[in-house]
Symmetry: C2
Subunit: 483 residues, 2 copies
């Protein structure tokens, strides 16, 4: 593991060059985010015009900070890069302490102008001379929720108590805007998502996909890896790295530039050739890498791999409290070619029939039950338990539309008891959809805060179940052999 | 137009048989919803055990209400239907005023039990004898936001000020749970959705799809029609009705039972044969009926038809403030086979280049621009204006990821000025995606409260644009000829 890269996630003190007192500046938000996440070591704001920022003493230059600094965040206007790097060089000659730069500022190589390229070259020459690793430029920063580092300038409205929580997802984004959107969408979930590590990779002047993938490969806290990918100059090398890691940890990729025109737009954007999409697509399939189509699917799939156990087989039962959503779910289920309806035992059917309201539909079709709007909390939880106890069932999609007369808080609490306290969710995944909107937020929040994943719609459950089954099938076949 | 059916939406006084003081009962919520929407005429709760409910005098029986009653809502336990209908018969002999029943209670024909069928038959025999139309049984009720009628028992958390607002969407659902979910999802949007008419059709013992479609065909306030459809006994007749209406008003359908297993589940549910899905699918295509795959897509498409002008052609410009989301959008755009990138004039390109930040990508590829994260509010609004002024452009997908330093309120207000006050949104549609999550809620709320549609993601914009272009193409070709 690259020792300098380690300092990106667990640095001994951080300097923010370009920290600001103006709330409309990125240099303000970075400082506030870093304080808000509860970074336990020292933060040194650097700004010529200020004596103090947010209660911290402010330094005129990097070279004037007396204590050790391992991580430097750059958010100064790009034309100042020459002065900043000269000053950093002076510091390195004297102290030699800086290990990583996160260059959040834009207006470098991505502009494809002579000036932009010159700025990026100057940044990189100085960094290389002193063996400093560089993330960016033209990125929105990095987050490590375990070591409580946040160098991003994204305001997410994430409540303070949700910051710095452990999670098993590590994520790399080639687009700052997609990265920011993911943070903002994640913060808006019933229980805000908290990733392990999060990196906006920007221009990849130095630290790139392969560096980070190899880091995550070794990182015991990373359970699943997510990528937003536009293109990479050494496609084969990237794919070999991903293929090796995918046998150990699931990798979920949102790869754009599918279409020729999309690829052209990608080229205009990060300057990287998107590469023939069909080649990527074939390699993803071959190497068990999970490709998703949308940002929502990316988030759902990453969180499911983090929180749900991987099903041992493809037989997923649909347990619905309502006919319409159940049928809707069934259509989506059948469209996923790799899912199967389990044939549960007669005993299971009898137990369900006894437990459920008279009007309930038990297993017509097989592997499907509609417990009806007459179902109370006990009917919900008891039927789920019965289904999970059947050996023919590898997992359950559980759908309920909470009506006026079903107490949602009690339902959520009873589900937590079954799945967490009694451990019914620990050897088979349960994909829960409680419909719909703000009205059911309370139930979803209770479940998610207890580490039980919920989904917006029945189709989202199906999509994620299919991805997890596909990954299991990969491990059992080809992936297993090659280990 | 059926005069009795008219009384469903604009009744002279409403009786609620089974109204309740218990907040966990449907009979409580129906009364509260009807009061909350501001129904302007008289409400008569009927309940043997109460003297007064929610400040209104309560009646022991329907037949004892001295004033005129045109609409009766039934939410009593189903075994009481015989007494209730006998009492209604007595009222009809004396007063002959009731025109419509909404039977929200379940446990009728859908149970396929002898008792359930007998109850439904008794309900229908009495109703037919007195020429009373019946909605349901086994439905969640109806809403008319124009005449301020709400007989549903769905709690949505819809703020009171959002109730009773006019909208151009009329919607029919064959599933109560899907209907409830749509109401709850609609209430959770930045500006809660307010439909014109909304009907949960239940068992269709009497009032069915065709009755309502024909009603909406004549209803000047219905601009677009939505259906959630499981199956219908007279498929050909339904299709002929839809085909006729689709030439005048767009019809958007979520039809389930696509798969054989889904169709089997549908049959278990409403007892209606789903019919070979391929037949439905072919007919939808032939007759310009818009088929959607998900509930979210249904809501997005209905709202877009209500609020956005239909594009005159297929050339939709993608204007993005960020590369990643722009490329992501482009991929989705190309996957929709009926959308084309416009070739704007050199003048338009020059105007954009002058107006935008240096780093902006103007038309590489054609029909696409990335105004970059350096774009301020003026850059956003001015570039949108320039693109809309180009004759080669039939519509615009406008994407922005609001960062810390872009004041979202100002952006939204300036967009309202351009699209509403200056009328730039009145002859070409603009599909707006402001990313992402709760952080951008303020901007989306301002836009939506001003009648400007916003979407969760770039891909949602693309999907809706494709549906609207397809409908225009249908009208211009086959649909136009047959008029």
């Amino acid at each position: 593991m690259d020792k300098n890269l380690h300092a990106l996630f667990d640095p001994e003190n951080i300097a923010i060059v370009g920290a600001s007192s103006n709330p409309l500046k990125a240099g303000y938000t970075i400082l506030e985010n870093l304080k808000s996440i509860g970074y336990p070591k020292k933060i040194f704001p650097v700004n010529k015009s200020e004596k103090e920022l947010s209660g911290l003493p402010c330094y005129e230059k990097l070279s004037l900070i007396p204590e050790k600094v391992e991580l430097v965040v750059l958010i100064t206007p790009s034309q100042m890069i020459f002065d900043v790097m000269d000053d950093l060089a002076q510091r390195m000659e004297e102290k030699g302490d800086v290990k990583v730069i996160v260059c959040a500022a834009a207006n470098y190589g991505e502009t494809k102008t002579e000036e932009g390229i010159a700025r990026q070259n100057y940044l990189m020459e100085t960094a290389k001379k002193y063996h400093i690793r560089v993330v960016g430029p033209n990125c929105i920063g990095i987050i490590d929720n375990i070591n409580r580092v946040d160098t991003t300038f994204v305001e997410t409205l994430l409540p303070k108590e949700s910051r710095g929580k452990k999670g098993g997802i590590s994520f790399i984004s080639q687009s700052g805007a997609v990265a920011a959107s993911i943070l903002m969408m994640g913060a808006s979930q019933p229980a805000p998502i908290s990733m392990n590590k999060f990196i906006s990779i920007g221009n990849m002047a130095d630290v790139d996909f392969i560096d980070l993938l190899e880091y995550f490969e070794q990182d015991a806290d990373t359970k699943v890896i997510g990528l937003y990918l536009e293109g990479y100059p050494e496609g084969r090398k990237l794919m070999e790295t991903m293929a090796r890691i995918a046998r150990k940890k699931p990798i979920v990729v949102l790869k754009v530039g599918r279409s020729e025109i999309g690829a052209k737009a990608a080229n205009s954007h990060t300057g990287s050739l998107a590469g023939a999409d069909a080649v990527y697509d074939g390699a993803f399939r071959q190497f068990g890498i999970i490709r998703v189509d949308t940002i929502e699917e990316l988030l759902d799939t990453l969180q499911a791999f983090d929180q749900c156990v991987i099903p041992k087989g493809s037989r997923i039962f649909i347990l619905s409290q309502a006919g319409g959503p159940g049928i809707y779910c069934t259509d989506g289920f059948v469209a996923q070619k790799n899912l199967a309806f389990p044939l549960v035992s007669q005993e299971t059917k009898d137990r369900m029939t006894v437990c459920l309201p008279d009007m309930a539909n038990v297993c017509s079709p097989e592997g499907y039950a509609d417990i009806t709007a007459a179902a109370n909390v006990k009917h919900h939880v008891e039927s789920l338990k019965i289904v999970l106890e059947d050996d023919a069932v590898d997992g359950v999609i559980f759908i309920t539309v909470v009506p006026t007369f079903l107490p949602q808080k009690e339902l959520a609490e009873e589900l937590v008891k079954l799945l967490k306290e009694k451990g019914y969710g620990t050897n088979k995944p349960v994909y829960i959809c409680i419909m719909a909107g703000n009205y059911v937020w309370q139930a979803r929040e209770i479940l998610e805060k207890n580490g039980i994943r919920t989904f917006d719609t029945p189709v989202d459950c199906v999509t994620v179940a299919s991805h997890m089954v596909a990954y299991q099938q990969f491990l059992q076949s080809r992936g297993g052999e090659e280990k």
